[in-house]
């Protein structure tokens, strides 16, 4: 058929085309990008051959933005304009951030999310994160030689709606199509192939540079569920460096090193810590600025002694998470180790003793989350082989509710509900003739609104004036597969439909993102327009390819008349895509979505019937 041949060079519509998809671990200290190539998941390197990108962004006075290692070292000289650990600010207000007073930033307390004033103006954490993601996107595109279909981005299991939405906004700003937000512990479990393993409870122990997280997962029938999470937001590998640094000062008899020496000593401490994971003993030789000589030897046993309290500190949240899950250490079938700090043998030993088993350490703990995300991205991009189909059913980590009278919370969706999910609850007016009603959407487990996180406020207007209690206002919460919420409310007794849609975005409205996208391309307007056009063309090609494939498989679901109509719609979309007008393509895409709705519904119907038929055949076999 002629239609098949109308495609741009390089935009093959071959059915088995491999789509470029990546997994991104957007970490507090370091970030990574990984992909599945020739069936193997691997991290992508930067031009210097390194896979870890320090999560640091340096805004320079001349308008340059530097990301990564160079930015990380700029902390010492330009701390105010060098943002590190920005993940701690994502979706957070100023009062939610701990230890603000010790941070070198010029914070701006903004509605919803804190902002940082830099030499390049006020930046939101979303923008800072977007710079890191952009760097990783460019690395991936360079290394894979093409535009990305999409990315899976990992988030901590305990991230609430605000933090997840902020992460997704950052990805959008970085020009990434988010296939899914994935919980970090789940990603680690996927990297270990646990979805093929036997059913049971697994623990993911994640000791990163500056944070510690413990997650308890339940695996049953190929389904992952996060049953409990806990952690310590200010405990990580950096604390081990600091203990060693103090030991070095004590033993070398140095009391007040210069700033430069302190930095060198701290870097040395990190290096020694890493070497002590391999060697029993390490010697330290350094000459300081004032001529002081450091000449020390440290045995692993000494290092173990001075950091023992830190290791013990990680086990407290572990106990708490197990208690929340109603489990004992002995119920845990496997322990996955994540984060560079878990390389330390005494950490592994302590965790092993606690759980009464040897933890899983055969994958690189720095890359395991990114690897898992890449495997999931490959599945979501549609590259998987039909035989290794598995399903990941995720749950929401925190309950969602509405404020009711007296500052109490009415829970609409309880925590651990499998997503996607939707629940509705009816409310009524409490005054005669009331025509408007205010709603306050919150997230959290506590009964009092003040102890929960506020997500959004909205008002439903146009309620017909009735006696108190007569109006019926149905509030519907919908949580999508990324764990993101949208809320709608509707008055339904009189048939008058007042409707409002809320998509909480925490101080970043859609138009703000559009503005940021625009300003990002300010110096290259043509570039932006070209990119917009290119995106629409890729989308059109994708839609046509998917529809062609669907028609090949299920064309029989349409009668001749319907088939002709759909073919015409494909033709119209293809002609628009061949042109240079992004808006025209967008309009055709929307029209096509309407035209193909019936066909898509019938295919879904057929596939559900097949699933059930398959089940009945299995029954017969028994």
């Amino acid at each position: 058929m002629a239609l098949l041949q109308i495609s741009e060079p390089g935009m093959s519509t071959a059915p088995h085309q491999h789509r470029l998809a990546v997994g991104i671990d957007l970490g507090t200290t370091n970030s990574l990008v990984a992909t599945v190539r020739n069936g193997v998941a691997q991290c992508l390197q930067d031009e210097e051959g390194k896979v870890l990108l320090p999560s640091a962004v340096h805004y320079l006075a001349d308008g340059q933005i530097v990301v990564g290692r160079k930015a990380h070292s700029a902390q010492a000289v330009d701390p105010r304009n060098t943002i590190v650990s920005v993940k701690r600010f994502m979706g957070r207000g100023l009062r939610d951030v701990s230890h603000v007073e010790t941070m070198p930033y010029d914070f701006v307390d903004a509605e919803g999310m804190v902002r940082l004033r830099t030499v390049q103006g006020v930046k939101s954490p979303v923008q800072v994160s977007a710079e890191i993601l952009k760097d990783l996107r460019l690395r991936a595109e360079r290394s894979l030689g093409g535009e990305l279909t999409g990315a899976v981005i990992t988030v901590p299991a305990y991230f609430d709606d605000a933090q997840r939405q902020a992460t997704k906004d950052a990805a959008r700003l970085a020009g990434l199509n988010v296939l899914r937000l994935l919980n970090e512990p789940t990603a680690a479990a996927i990297a270990y192939g646990l979805e093929h393993a036997s059913e049971g409870i697994y623990a993911v122990y994640d000791l990163g540079g500056g944070t510690f997280d413990i997650s308890i997962l339940r695996l049953s029938r190929g389904v992952f569920e996060v049953v409990a999470t806990n952690g310590d937001a200010s405990l990580g590998g950096d604390d081990f460096d600091h203990r060693l640094f103090c030991w070095m000062l004590d033993n070398a008899g140095i009391s007040l090193p210069s700033d430069r020496d302190a930095r060198r000593l701290l870097m040395k401490a990190r290096e020694v810590k890493e070497r002590l994971s391999l060697d029993e003993s390490v010697s330290i030789r350094m000459t300081l600025e004032r001529g002081d000589e450091v000449d020390l030897t440290i045995d692993r046993s000494v290092f173990v002694d001075i950091t023992r309290p830190l290791v013990a500190k990680t086990l407290k949240p572990v106990r708490k998470a197990l208690r929340d899950a109603g489990l004992d250490a002995g119920d845990v079938k496997g322990v996955v180790m994540v984060g560079g700090a878990t390389r330390m043998p005494h950490v592994q030993q302590a965790v092993g003793e606690f759980f009464g088993q040897i933890p899983l350490t055969n994958l690189d703990p720095d890359t395991v989350v990114a690897i898992g995300a890449a495997i999931q991205a490959n599945v979501l991009a549609g590259n998987r082989a039909a035989e290794d189909e598995w399903l990941l059913l995720d749950v929401i980590p925190l309950s969602l509710g509405i404020e009711t009278m007296g500052g109490l919370v009415e829970k609409i969706i309880p925590r651990n509900a499998t997503i996607p999910t939707a629940r509705a609850q009816d409310f009524t007016t409490f005054k005669d003739g009331q025509t408007a009603m205010a709603f306050h959407v919150v997230q959290g487990e506590r009964e009092l609104v003040s102890a929960c996180r506020s997500l959004a406020r909205f008002e439903l207007r146009g309620i017909p004036p009735l006696v108190a209690g007569a109006a019926r206002i149905r509030v519907t919460f919908q949580v999508d597969a990324d764990g993101l919420l949208s809320v709608s409310a509707r008055e339904q007794t009189t048939g008058v439909e007042a409707r409002v849609e809320v998509k909480p975005s925490y101080g970043l409205a859609d138009h703000e993102i559009a503005d940021m996208l625009k300003s990002g391309f300010e110096n290259a307007r043509d570039d932006m327009e070209l990119r917009g056009l290119r995106e629409q063309q890729v989308e059109a090609a994708r839609v046509i390819e998917a529809t062609m494939k669907a028609l090949d498989a299920d064309g029989g679901l349409l009668n001749a008349h319907e088939r002709t109509a759909l073919d015409a719609a494909i033709g119209a979309l293809q002609s628009a895509a061949d042109g240079q007008d992004a808006r025209a393509i967008k309009i055709q895409l929307e029209a096509f979505n309407r035209a193909s709705n019936e066909f898509a519904s019938r295919r879904m119907d057929k596939s559900i019937r097949e699933a059930l038929a398959g089940q009945r055949i299995d029954d017969l076999r028994i």
Binding site: L391, D480, A546, N593, L612, Q615
Partner: protein
């Protein structure tokens, strides 16, 4: 054509009734999620994504409803046109109400005294009563077809569920 208003039993290909084969329910649920889950549609056009989200949401809601005896009983009554509005029809037997009051009192005292043991014991007694009511509900719905008695039992289960939540909250409060 299947539609989103179809009843949950039909969706999973199960006979309509209170007594249910849990393994079959779970298998049918996973088979359907395997076909409709958004992860299967992440790379497809928006039309497919939207349909997938609707169906996966529907399947999750259906599974949640049929899995829980209380929700299942309530749903069956709804299908048969019985109004399960608990607030508007609370004519309970005096014995049940007495028992309720007694339990509530015990909960209040244990909470005040921060007595974990008493709370645990209360939780056990309520679990026991819960189990007995579920057996009764099965009899009323599947054998006798006495829908009004069943509605009454569902209301009692609802009371117990609320009490169970409160005991759990009290226990959690003690731990922290």
């Amino acid at each position: 054509m299947l539609d989103l208003k179809q009843d949950y039993f039909a969706l999973f290909g199960l006979p309509t009734g209170f007594s249910i084969d849990m393994d079959r329910l779970e298998q049918a649920y996973l088979d359907i999620q395997g076909k409709v889950h958004p992860d299967r549609f992440a790379h497809l056009p928006d039309t497919d994504k939207r349909l997938s989200m609707q169906w996966a949401t529907h399947a999750n809601e259906a599974f949640r409803t049929l899995k829980s005896p209380l929700a299942r009983g309530q749903y069956l009554l709804e299908l048969k046109g019985i109004d399960p509005a608990f607030e508007t029809n609370t004519a309970m037997s005096p014995e049940f109400l007495m028992e309720q009051m007694e339990w509530r009192e015990a909960l209040g005292e244990a909470r005040e005294a921060a007595d974990e043991e008493v709370l645990e014991d209360l939780a056990r007694r309520i679990r026991h009563a819960n189990r007995a009511l579920i057996e009764q509900l099965e009899l009323e719905l599947d054998q006798k077809g006495d829908l009004h008695a069943a509605a009454d039992t569902v209301r009692r289960l609802k009371f117990l569920e609320k009490l169970q939540h409160e005991i759990n909250d009290a226990l959690t409060a003690l731990e922290s």
